[in-house]
Structures are given as structure tokens and as C-alpha cells.
Symmetry: C3
Subunit: 202 residues, 3 copies
């Protein structure tokens, strides 16, 4: 089931990438690249830093194919029907975020890194793809400014590690931690939770 | 001959980097860095993702020296004479693109990755340096919006792999695939071939 | 002592990252990420390119904790008192730059890379974190345009390697090379030394 959830996350992240590429009027190649980078960038960065080879999308071809199909499918969908339903996309994105965070944390723990590193790797897996997407589209990454996003990953990664320390079975820990990420993220969208901002004027 | 073609590609890509740095009024250090990143960025990203060490420019010092010389030579040339001839540069860039794409595809195949990964690595080797150049110069990468560029790499990488499957000798496959990249790119410039764009309005 | 100097460099770089994040009105998560990336980005890039694993901040947890504390401490400091003293920050930054350059050069030399690569790795360790900081904040990296910065690293890395070739003990070579970086940087700030610029108009 985790495998299919992961592919679902890949597809959703590729859709957010394709939509951003459309807002910048990119061509189909740009749409596919931004889709791929958004979907696979976080996991690639994690694997390269952890020296975990082959990196995930080389080991599992399905992710590449799913991401390309999702990016091109987004273009077709928007052209044939109308703009994608925002709330549906936000909820789907929250599921992808939950899966990526927990799988990134779990992978880091198999490398026996200290707890704080496993948390950082989990957050990075969840959010780095979106950061690279925004950089390639020439804007300050959304997650540094919008309502709570990465903090949901942080809580989920901590929950996962805490549950394992309490001898919770790995499958249950995964599901509960994903529920934490998803729940916090959805609550943040619903009630517009934000972190305090730091304003500095020259 | 491939070795010299590769150095030619490094030099040409460094020139395009230096010209972009000049458009942003960077200092000589910026010119050299943007030149190096444009010339060596694609290969470095490929090597790091494939875990192929030492990365190409550490293994072959000549690339570094050629890229630095080409970047600084561009400044001298522009100051002493006049702006570089655009068409000449575009043609030279197409040769560099052809060489990088085929050498990237070939290197990936020595790592026994699946075909689709070898194609992606070939395209990445050809275009990623230019993407990083544009990001460092704070603009949306040209190749996501201009006439056909990465698609030429895609066709060339597919041609290379297809020819090898047909038992074509590797040298001939390389030359023919490079001719595909070069030919498609030149035709795209001449007749302004573009991919369909995806426009999305908020 | 080098160990504590390195942590001092991490803290100072994290402060410059946090201040830049504040200028972009980021939230606390953005402040911490930009602080971490500025402080640890150069070393991470160096380690990944040299295939030196585990990367420095996974091997030494202290850097992470110091960088996070420095980034959050910057927010507190600015809120409770007033803007940070610019000259003090510039001098502290010059110390961090000196330490990072020399430690990066020294690490590269333990990998038996050619001299020119060791110099490049030293400069990269010193400046790449700031480059990524500026890219994430959506502006052209300062060091490609402002007064002499990377050139100070270049001279320091060359001094370090030259002194080792003259059989100077490693500790003395480190200290002298750091003094070179610091001295050149401070002189560049004081007398506004700049490199020639390359202006190109379309």
C-alpha cells in the first residue's frame, strides 16, 4: 500500500509542478521538467546526501513514468475542461506530503543517522521538490512564506520516530505519522495557521 | 576525436555563460563561475546522481582550464572587438549540445541503467548547465520557453540507443546521434520550431 | 581550536542567512532553512562532489544545532534590541569565510585531487552557501557583483597550498592562510576593492 501511496504522491506533486509551469507559460518540455523536479527532487536530494544509490527514481522506473504522465495529463485536463479544483489539489498535495515525509524519515533511519538528521531528511524529502520548482520558476519558495506546510512534516517525522521508540510496529507508526502530517496541514489550510514572520527593513 | 569535441563543447558553453554574466553586469569572478557552471554543471549533476566518481572535471583537469580560459577570453574578445556573432554562437552551441547529449547517454549506459534513465541522463547532461546558469542569473531557464532545444537532445539520445540496439558500431552511433541533435537544433533555429505552450491564468 | 572556529563560522553564516530571510519577510521556518543552507551549503556541495560521506553536518551534529540556534537567535536579537551592527557582522563573516576556505582546501587535499581542484573546493566551501542563500531569496548572488569576496578565498587557498609545499607545518599554514583571507577581505571592505565588471548590452 505504501508503494501505491508513494506513486500517488509523485503524481500529485507532478501536477502542482505542471500547474506552476503553466502559470509561467512554459512549453511542454518545461512542464514535464518542472513536474519531474517537483515530484522527484526531494527524494533525489535526500539520496545524494545520504549516499543512497541508486537514487529512488533510477531504482523504480514507475515514478518517472507516473510523473511524466501526470504532468502531461494536467495540460490535457486543463485544456479540455477547466481549471483544476483548488481544494481537491490541496488535499491531494497534503497526502503526498504525508507519504514523502514518512518514507524519507524511514529511509534515513535505515542509514543509522542521528534522530535530528532523520527528521531533517524527512522534511527535506517532503518539501525540497517544491522549493526547486519555485526556484526554477523564479520565485521565492512558497513554503518560506505561506501557511504552515513544512512544520506539518516536522511534527510527522517526530511522531514517526517517537512511535518507533515506543515500540509501535513500523506499519502503524507510518500510518499514524502520515495522519499527523495530513491533519496538521489540512487544519493549517482550513484555519490559515501561519508561523510568525520575520520582517527586516534596510 | 570525441575528447576534442567534448572540450569544444565545454568552451562553447562557457562562452554562453560568460555572455549571460555580462548581460547581468557581473564582475570577472562571476563571469568565470557562470562559465564554469554552464560548461560543467550538466555533467556534474549526472555524475553525482549516477554515483560516478571522480566527477568528470575532477578526473580531467583540461575541462576546468578550457572553461576558465573561454570565459575570460569572451570578456577580452567583446572588449577588444565587438559583440559576438549570434549565429556563429548558436551553431557552436548546437555542436556542444550534440556532444554532451551523446556522451551523457553513453556514460549512463555503462552504469547499466534502464533505457529511459539513459535518455534522461543524456538530456540532463546537455541542458542542465544552461538551466543552472539561468537560475544563478535570476531568470526562468530559457529552454523551458524558447524554440526547440531539449527535444533535440531527446531525439539524439533515442537515436543513439536505437542504433546500438541495431548493432551499429558505437563510433558510428555516436556520430549519427550527434548529427540528429545538431540537425534538429539548427532546423529549429532556422524555422523557429517551438513546442506547444501551456498558458494558465490565475 | 579549528573545531571551534568552524562552529563560529557556521553561526555567523547562519546569521547572514537569517538576516536575508528577514529582508524577504519569511516565516520562522524560512529563516531556519535559509540559515542552515547558508551555513552548511558550501560544505555539503563539496562533500557530495568529492564523494566524502557522511557529509560534514551528518557527521557532526553540532553544526546543525549551532546553525538553527544562530538563525532563531538572530530573530530574537533583532526583535528585542535593534538592527545588527553591520561592521561587526562583516568582520565576523570574514572570519567564517577564512575558516571555511582553509578547511575546504584541506579536506580536498586529503582526497588527493590536483591542486587546481583543491583551490576550487576551498573557494566553493567558502562561498557556495551564500550563493544558494541568494538564489533561494530570488536575487542574483551578491558575490558575483559586490566588492572582492571570493578572490580573498582564492588567495587564501593558494597560500595554504603554497605553504604546505614549502614544508610549513599544517597548523601554521592554516593560520597564515586564514589571515590572508581575512586580511584581503577586510581590506576590500575598507577600501572598496572591486574586480573589473563585464557589461554587455543587448
Amino acid at each position: 500500500m505504501l508503494y501505491y501511496l508513494d506513486l500517488f504522491g509523485v503524481a500529485v506533486f507532478a501536477v502542482t509542478g505542471a500547474l506552476m509551469a503553466g502559470r509561467k507559460s512554459m512549453d511542454l518540455f518545461g512542464v514535464v521538467v518542472i513536474g519531474l523536479v517537483t515530484a522527484l527532487g526531494g527524494g533525489t536530494l535526500r539520496d545524494v546526501i545520504l549516499d543512497h544509490h541508486p537514487v529512488s527514481w533510477i531504482a523504480h522506473q514507475a515514478s518517472i513514468l507516473v510523473a511524466i504522465a501526470a504532468a502531461l495529463g494536467t495540460v490535457l485536463w486543463v485544456r479540455m475542461t477547466r481549471p483544476i479544483h483548488d481544494l481537491g489539489l490541496l488535499l491531494a498535495d497534503a497526502i503526498g506530503l504525508a507519504v514523502f515525509t514518512v518514507s524519507g524519515t524511514a529511509l534515513a533511519m535505515t542509514h543509522q543517522v542521528p534522530t535530528i538528521m532523520a527528521v531533517i531528511m524527512g522534511v527535506m524529502t517532503g518539501v525540497a521538490g517544491g522549493v526547486v520548482r519555485d526556484v526554477l520558476c523564479n520565485q521565492i519558495p512558497l513554503i518560506f512564506r505561506q501557511e504552515i506546510y513544512a512544520s506539518a512534516c516536522l511534527l510527522g517525522a517526530l511522531a514517526y520516530i517517537g512511535l518507533l521508540h515506543l515500540h509501535c510496529p513500523a506499519e502503524w507508526a507510518s500510518l499514524l505519522a502520515m495522519a499527523v502530517v495530513f491533519g496538521v496541514r489540512v487544519a493549517a489550510i482550513r484555519w490559515k495557521w501561519t508561523l510568525p514572520r520575520f520582517h527586516l527593513h534596510d
